[in-house]
């Protein structure tokens, strides 16, 4: 798709948006220029804080009032948007530019049915009769491939899945066939298989209607899958803009190179073999967790969060549990760390069946299993210093304060942080640094098994690469067994020796990472791998 001959539908030039005065930098974005041709997909890619969403919102005229466009122009088919008043902007929304958002869960009004929400667009911008509007809405619901349009029309958002809600959003944004669609991370909150379907849908509708798409994402896989051209943003500056092939295969700017190098590859590396006689640290046999909520007259609601999970981790080995949301992977992690009680099955820790242990023995074993959580912002008590958080555990087991602090200083160095940071509070650290602190806290217990529950999922890709490297170093240095829970196949491919794929509470495939990734047997695993975005691209192989 060549873009040079066609008049761009959207062209942004010299765009500068000011931040409020007390912010950490002066401009949200500075001197940004790019354009989108009809039928073209342009991806804005960048890490958190790069200002990519701000650009999207400024085009729609939906910027928060604290942000001001101070210079530059935004032209939609030649119309200068920065000079329009509110009413004129309003008339353009959904008619000539539509937008879809990141969180399909919250982007729809929960008390209005989906059909009415789409219908509202027609009511506002057209003079169609209510019967005409209804048939148009139903037709649109069908075009976004939702089953049973009549039922979807009257459904409330909470009755639909995330993917279905995003389809409703797309229907809403595209029903009046705008020339530009702005998509702000529309698949980030979705599972990988759903993501693939939504990307496919956007591709299909956009090609059909020759819509220009401005697609905001942080995921290079999605970029590779979808984009014709890519703009890379770093802290409000546009560092590189070119065709997808150019930028991904031959990045010019150091930052782009670093980002692309940080993307974990889909191909597992050859790993050192774990000796067969390495001691088994954790073993589960038919582990199960069932939630029962009691209803009337025996109408109990039973949810099997995990069924028949049998896994084994040896010292020095990393077992990955991979699955989509609701697959039960976190339930397994929580059962193993005794944060919840399993309802069936056995757990052996270093040969001891924990069901047969006394409370006292359990307590002393508890320290052997430690966990790092997903959200670095909530895993540390904001009112306690980093030092207090790290020494809490050892002091529970009778280590003296002095000794615990000395250990903590060493651990801070181990996780590559300044030991003097022990006296500081969590809010003084970045997300990646906090995650290092959480790792230090877990290590302070001198565990045999470290459970990482989506521990890098909330981090930017460059930080993620650093934390993954750290985890691997620590595992080797301390000869830990590691249970690595993730939804991200690439991450699993890079750090796991053995992988268990979970779906609907069950382990559907279980084996050495290289074998499993190169030759998946189960159809679910195959579908999962198939859906992973950007696999065709060289950088990700």
């Amino acid at each position: 798709m060549t873009t040079t001959e066609q008049e761009p539908v959207l062209s942004v030039s010299g765009l500068t948006i000011d931040l409020p005065r007390n912010a950490d930098r002066k401009h949200a974005v500075e001197n940004i220029s790019f354009d989108v041709a009809p039928g073209e997909v342009v991806c804005l890619v960048g890490e958190s804080g790069s200002g990519k969403s701000v650009i999207a919102f400024s085009v729609m005229g939906l910027l928060a009032s604290a942000l001001q466009v101070s210079r530059g122009s935004i032209k939609l088919q030649g119309t200068e948007l920065t000079e329009l008043d509110d009413d004129a902007m309003r008339a353009l929304r959904c008619t000539r530019m539509g937008m879809i958002f990141q969180e399909p869960m919250t982007a729809l009004n929960p008390v209005m049915n989906c059909g009415d929400q789409i219908d509202e667009v027609l009511q506002e911008h057209t003079d169609l009769s209510s019967a005409q509007r209804r048939s148009k809405v139903l037709a649109m619901i069908e075009q976004v491939h939702l089953p049973d349009p009549e039922r979807m029309y009257s459904a409330y958002p909470h009755q639909l899945s995330g993917g279905q809600r995003q389809r409703i959003m797309i229907a809403m944004a595209l029903i009046l066939e705008p020339v530009v669609l702005i998509a702000d991370e529309p698949t980030t909150a979705l599972d990988v298989t759903t993501q693939a379907q939504i990307l496919q849908l956007i591709r299909e509708l956009q090609a059909e209607r020759q819509t220009g798409v401005l697609f905001i994402t942080h995921d290079f896989g999605v970029v590779a899958e979808l984009a014709d051209r890519v703009a890379v943003l770093k802290q409000g500056q546009l560092v590189e803009f070119g065709t997808t092939q150019q930028v991904l295969a031959n990045p010019q700017h150091a930052y782009t190179k670093m980002l692309i190098a940080s993307v974990p590859r889909h191909e597992p590396p050859v790993r050192r073999v774990i000796a067969d006689d390495a001691p088994v640290v954790l073993q589960t046999e038919n582990l199960a967790k069932r939630y029962v909520s009691y209803g009337f007259a025996g109408a109990n609601n039973v949810v099997d969060a995990a069924v028949d999970v049998s896994i084994e981790i040896r010292r020095g080995e990393t077992l990955g549990i991979v699955g989509e949301s609701g697959s039960g992977k976190s339930t397994v992690a929580r059962c193993i760390t005794w944060l919840i009680e399993s309802s069936d099955g056995k757990i052996w820790l270093a040969g001891d069946n924990i069901a047969e242990l006394s409370k006292e023995q359990l307590r002393s074993l508890r320290r052997k299993v430690q966990i790092v959580f997903q959200d670095p912002y909530r895993s540390l008590n904001p009112r306690r210093t980093v030092g207090q958080s790290i020494i809490e555990g050892p002091m529970n087991y009778g280590i003296s304060h002095r000794e615990a602090i000395a250990d903590a200083r060493e651990l801070m160095q181990l996780v590559q942080l300044d030991p003097d940071g022990l006296d500081r509070y969590p809010h003084q650290f970045s997300g990646g640094q906090r995650q290092r602190i959480c790792i230090a806290r877990a290590l302070a217990m001198k565990p045999d098994l470290l459970v990482a529950d989506e521990a890098v999922s909330a981090l930017d890709v460059s930080v993620q690469a650093q934390v993954l490297k750290l985890l691997e170093e620590i595992r080797d240095r301390m000869q830990l067994a590691m249970l690595f829970i993730t939804h991200d196949l690439r991450v699993a491919a890079q750090v796991c020796d053995v992988v268990a794929v979970m779906s609907k509470g069950r382990v559907v495939e279980y084996g050495p990472a290289r074998e499993l990734f190169n030759n998946p047997q189960h159809e679910y695993t195959q579908a999962l791998f198939e859906a992973a975005p950007g696999r065709h691209f060289e950088f990700a192989r």
């Binding site: 320290r367 959580f373 895993s379 958080s389 590559q416 970045s430 959480c438 930080v463």
Partner: protein, 309 residues
Amino acid sequence: MSATIISEESAESVELVDQPSIWSRLIRHPSVVIGGVLIALIVSLVPAAPLITTLDPTDISPRNRNKPPGFETVHRDDEGTKYTVVAHMGTDKLGRDVYSRVIHGAKVSLIVGVSVALISISIGLFTGMLAGYFRLIDAVVMRVMDGLMAIPSILLAIALVSLSGASLLTVIIAIVIPEIPRVVRLVRSIVLTIREEPYVEAAISVGTPTWKILLRHVLPNTIAPLIVQGTFICGSAILLEAILSFLGVGVPPEIPTWGNIMAQGRDLFQIYPHSIFYPGIFLTLTVLAINMLGDGLRDTIDPRMSKEI
């Protein structure tokens, strides 16, 4: 291992700028300042009362009955010498000086407000923490609290006072009891949110015993909301005490309280409104000052709470 400290070069924005301290935010908040100054003035009435009034607030004087504000009342001292005192706020139907009574009345209101706030917060905090953390206790405690909540607080208080006889202590107890369920609910809801926090789970997995988790991780989160709640309880307790006295079921009528003064002024209100309006103004200002302080505290130390009423 090399102990090089890496600087994490990424676009993550780090809030290294420290927020202004709580104190400097407090003294800049207009409602905190206005409310605080007013409260300080009213509190200072208690020790200052004997100095700024000349008459005993309980002295009955038949010749000085129902005098309007500004009237010069005539009294005799112990030796029988006559002297006159200007009744700034008039006199009541027993000839007592309303000004003296109003100034002295601040004491009872403040005692009731502060003690009700302290007692109900302490009991509510303890009960709410237990209810939030232990399921079994929760089921029982919350049923009782629901029941207590269902009884209109004023009726509960009136009934309790009239049954056990009017005294300052029974009034305080009668106001405390209906306040407790509100505190319990607040504390319990905080505990239920905090115990789901990953940092509490992290504490569990490093083997911290439950009582330590409650003290170390849960309790500190309740302090700011409880200070705010305590302020509002103080205000509403003062109001409730005045209502009880006004209805004639509060502290004994000879004790000067704002409610009692108003109760005595009710019959002749249409002709002599002063013995209702002056204590009414003081009562309103006190409660207003406390509520303003509470509002300001909520904005500054507990922004999360401003979602609730």
